[in-house]
């Protein structure tokens, strides 16, 4: 089979066309910003990090010392007070979920474009306030799968009907969080900072949003179950593990599972009336990504080299803002995920199907 147009390339299927360079303030200098974002931005022409914001003086000083483009290291108070406000055009918010809102409000007050990590906030209500705050500035939610080459190929294959009408999606993402962080007080396991749980909020958004992206549709209903076995890492959250089923229009079902306490693996699979697509591992950035396509004509696969997903995400964001182009993953788009996440917890709690 020849499906090069869909999956036989590592090249982008979109082009950054806007002139200029977007200067970004990085708000929150945790490991993700330090290890994934700042290195990615150092390799971009249309986007650069000029400001680092952190509650830790050591972290912000280090950001200025390590990255030539970063000229200012600000505390959160300094950021809120407008210090160095002319040094950046946009704000990337990568703090714990429950702290997104005030930083986004600050950015919007200063007229800055916002790239906000997902999930947008710790509750639907706070996410709605976040969206409202950005009424007059561009807001994009950081769904890195939407600019991932393999995920875009999956969407393209589905769109073009290569696997017929989509029938069923399976999505899974799990990792052993206790091996990734120092101690159980980590914010992703703290409902006050992460939202209602640990696995659906942090990992569930990958199968949820990728299903929406690939199917080009939003869920109509959800059923779910969550489980925590206790132990000090998971005693504060209901979802050491979670499984949930999303009903999309036209009878398409997405069956998703996530866990913060399982083997690190992920897969996204679409079965249609005329074929099957599998992406492995998909949701984990910075590693090889395999895409398998099976139709009555035979099977083919392609291996995507480890992609710098954050580079792609920021390049796309910068191009959208600089070119004043429409933003697909905008606030309203992100709110749908927030409502789905909330419904997953509610449906797990009361055992009923939640309709949207």
């Amino acid at each position: 089979m020849e499906f090069d147009g869909y999956l036989g390339t590592d090249e982008r299927d979109w082009e950054a066309t806007a002139d200029g360079t977007l200067r970004v303030a990085i708000v929150g200098l945790g490991w993700w910003s330090r290890e994934r974002v700042l290195p990615a931005l150092a390799n971009l022409e249309n986007c650069t990090a000029t400001v680092g914001v952190s509650g830790s003086s050591a972290k912000r000083e280090r950001a200025v010392a390590d990255w030539p483009s970063v000229e200012h290291g600000l505390s959160y108070d300094e950021f809120a007070a407008g210090e160095a406000v002319d040094a950046y055009d946009a704000v990337y918010v990568c703090t714990p979920n429950a702290l997104h809102l005030p930083h986004v409000e600050t950015a919007a007050e200063f007229g800055k474009a916002v790239l906000c990590e997902k999930p947008m906030e710790a509750s639907v209500e706070r996410a709605e306030r976040l969206v409202a705050a950005c009424e007059d500035v561009p807001l994009m939610v950081g769904y890195r799968m939407q600019t991932d080459r393999a995920a875009r190929s999956v969407r393209q294959l589905v769109r073009e009907g290569v696997v017929g009408d989509p029938v069923t999606v399976h999505g899974h993402m799990s990792q052993p969080i206790a091996e990734m962080f120092d101690d159980p007080s980590h914010w992703r396991l703290d409902p006050d900072l992460a939202g209602p749980g640990a696995s659906v909020t942090d990992l569930g958004v990958y199968p949820i949003n990728t299903s929406r992206f690939v199917l080009d549709a939003d869920p109509e209903a959800v059923t779910a179950a969550t489980w925590s076995g206790g132990g000090e890492w998971f005693e504060r959250v209901p979802d050491e593990r979670a499984g949930f089923q999303l009903a999309f229009p036209d009878g398409v079902t997405a069956l998703c599972s996530v866990s913060q306490n399982a083997y690190k693996t992920a897969e996204f699979r679409v079965v249609g009336t005329a074929g099957e697509i599998r992406m492995r591992p998909g949701f984990f950035g910075a590693q090889e990504n395999e895409l398998f396509l099976s139709t009555p004509a035979g099977e083919t696969s392609v291996t995507y080299e480890p992609a710098d997903q954050m580079r792609e995400l920021f390049c796309f964001f910068a191009d959208r803002v600089l070119g004043e182009k429409a933003i697909p993953a905008d606030g309203e788009h992100g709110l749908v995920d927030m409502r789905v996440v909330e419904a997953v917890y509610d449906a797990a709690e009361d055992g009923t199907r939640h309709q949207f």
Copy 2:
């Protein structure tokens, strides 16, 4: 990695030790019996088909003509009347689901061992009567995955803790039934003959029972959704497609999907705390079966040559009956599946979680 003890062989991990040959009456001579069962039995030493029972004189005459071991072709009335009753020791029931009960009752009255296709019957109530009828004769339900070499390897890997504690199971099975049979009046699409639906009853039992077999546990609760798009093939059943989520003990979730109107594909996957096992396609007999094992030590896979699943099933059944050994997939075991299938339809209908 070296996991030869689990998956590096096509050899059985059990042994047929009983003496003698079990003579079987094949009740129902549809395509499954003709193409999958009679050829399989021709290759066995401990089991042989001596009688063929069918409502079609052409089919039963053909069975006698084509297979030297088949000495008698009986109508259903002749079978019920005890004709040639000394020519067989056991009965294999492979009629439409809703017709299993009377044939099993006949077999039990004659003191014959029973191998009954799954699902056992069209309703829980009839299946319970079926089990009660077999109080004094051996009864086995025909779960061919339980004697499938790859599925047994999956179970062994889970049992030995090679992937840690199981966390999540994904199971999928789909096929385009309209391409497999002549017309929409086929019995699998007729609730009067098949039971409450077409996909969960016929295909759903594969992920349900294989999950039970591999996890060595029974579900405690189920949520589900079904969908039919109409069209003459699926206007009588609710489940052209179905998705359901089974809650097993200790927070293990099985997310399953089935469809009689989708691309032919199947997969069974177990994610544990310390690894992942995938079996593809697993549920379809007579084709290559791949098993993938992934742990922190690396990835390995093995390809099982196309297995004659019905040969293995009958060999196991014959050995159990001839040796008067315990039967794992007995009536009570089969009843659990029947209750799960019924709960899937009920949960899909009312949108609530059904507890067992």
